[in-house]
């Protein structure tokens, strides 16, 4: 499928895509690029990549596919660095968790090459990061959302779609703004709430840290706050890149929470019960639809 794939950012996602492309015999040569030489060397030793470089412009030379898999906050800068070195027919795609910010950066930097940029987002990940945590099966039965815009070349979208499907993923096309709203709701806002809750509990009213409160936390708390152990750098970038959709969704949530708090304070048992029961049904229904429990 590809002669040479350049992967910028050899973390969990970039490394897993490299492994999957290799496992499916979709690529002859994989060039890994990143700032952390030790990580690149590990990628070489693990056989995840064939060549390594810390220079993005060098990495993309002669590549027919370039995958941007580094931290979201570096998108504009990396695009500026690689734009002059892209091969004429090279496809570029990315794995960023927000899409409008990436589309804006690509439009501003890629010029005539912009139609061959396919914005993408594999909804996969995990608490562990880095190339050691990568696996060839990470994307199997996971969703990948592509958000082509009016300028995007249909054949470019088709190639990127087939690539992701080959890794076992289920590909969906979505409008950019809709993607950012859906992900604000199902991913970015939950992370915001988890970070805010743990910070609120750990920092008492007087501003003192009080870790001992967690000693009485049960299993439900551990699950609920799991995403608060996510990478703060990555999530700062996501929160800021998707700030419009995220703050809007946060305001909706604040309204729901305030209504629930008022119902509790007024001992309005019927409203409290109805809210809880509606939520339980919505969650149980979504799990049932996906065959989960």
């Amino acid at each position: 499928m590809f002669e040479r794939v350049a992967i910028i950012g050899l973390g969990l996602i970039g490394g897993s895509l490299a492994r999957a492309l290799r496992a499916k015999h979709l690529v002859k040569e994989i060039v890994g690029c990143g700032r952390d030489v030790t990580n690149l060397e590990r990628g070489m030793a693990l056989g995840v990549i064939d060549r390594q470089t810390t220079n993005p412009a060098e990495a993309v030379q002669g590549a027919d596919l370039v995958v941007l898999a580094m931290t979201l906050g570096a998108t504009g800068e990396i695009l500026r660095q690689i734009a002059p070195s892209l091969a004429p027919q090279a496809l570029v795609t990315d794995v960023g968790s927000t899409k409008q910010s990436v589309v804006d950066a690509a439009r501003a930097t890629l010029g005539a090459a912009f139609p061959r940029f396919v914005p993408g987002h594999p909804i996969a990940g995990g608490e562990k990061s880095g190339v050691e945590a990568s696996t060839a099966t990470l994307f199997e039965r996971h969703r990948v959302i592509l958000t082509p815009v009016s300028e995007t070349a249909p054949d470019a979208v088709e190639i990127v779609r087939r690539m992701w499907e080959a890794t076992g993923a289920e590909v969906t096309l979505m409008e950019v703004g809709h993607h950012d709203e859906v992900l604000a709701a199902t991913s970015h806002l939950p992370h915001l709430l988890a970070f805010a809750l743990v910070d609120c509990l750990a920092t008492g009213e007087n501003g003192q840290q009080r870790g001992e409160i967690f000693d009485y936390a049960a299993g439900g708390f551990r699950d609920f706050t799991r995403i608060a152990s996510s990478n703060p750098d990555m999530w700062r970038d996501i929160a800021l890149a998707n700030r419009t959709a995220l703050t809007k969704m946060c305001t909706q949530f604040e309204t729901t929470l305030a209504a629930l708090k008022t119902a509790i304070a007024r001992e309005d048992a019927a409203t409290v019960h109805a809210t809880f029961a509606r939520a339980k049904k919505a969650r149980d229904d979504y799990l049932a639809r996906r065959g989960l429990t």
Copy 2:
């Protein structure tokens, strides 16, 4: 340790305590009481209880220990029903998730027997409920908090403490109000947030149900919302019983969230990162202290 234990409410907690007392040979006879005859018969068939009745006053006759393990909202009514039938030296304890409301109800109903009431809360549970889900090992390495008040007889506290320790639990004594604040923070508020989030997402701005938004949810969302699949009846009772501490904690959380939202809207990257990093550290530290990851 006990001749006859009466367990009012044969669910996951009541059933597990019955099994643990039996496994440790701490009781000669266990009387199970509940409204659901089918569940009681299942408890008989499983050997969890020796006798069954739907009449609480009958259940407690001749019992030297009475355990209130039914839904929190029934506490006052059950105490009224059993008070006249308690044996003179009977101990009474409970497993309710809030303690001030239970102490108030016990003080109002038990009269001269109130000093032999030991308010308790095993921090254990699970998504599954009912006597079939019960196990003799549910409390092993879990916390049980006892919240005796000034009137509570020290020897009664000591017996209840030893009973829980025999099940493998780690017993802590705590002041009633402090218990309710700690649990509001680590359990009741997280449930409120999970219920509110799922309800907010499932109910669009126009009030229409939109379950399809969950189709793009990843594993983190499933963990984050697990507690939104909890029993709405049980959680309505808890939220209302602990409304003072819960609404206070909710207000603290709203303040933290509002500050974070403002920082995101203003693109204040430093504040956003500091909040996320503080939360991650607090959570990682608490897991490390408990030997978890």
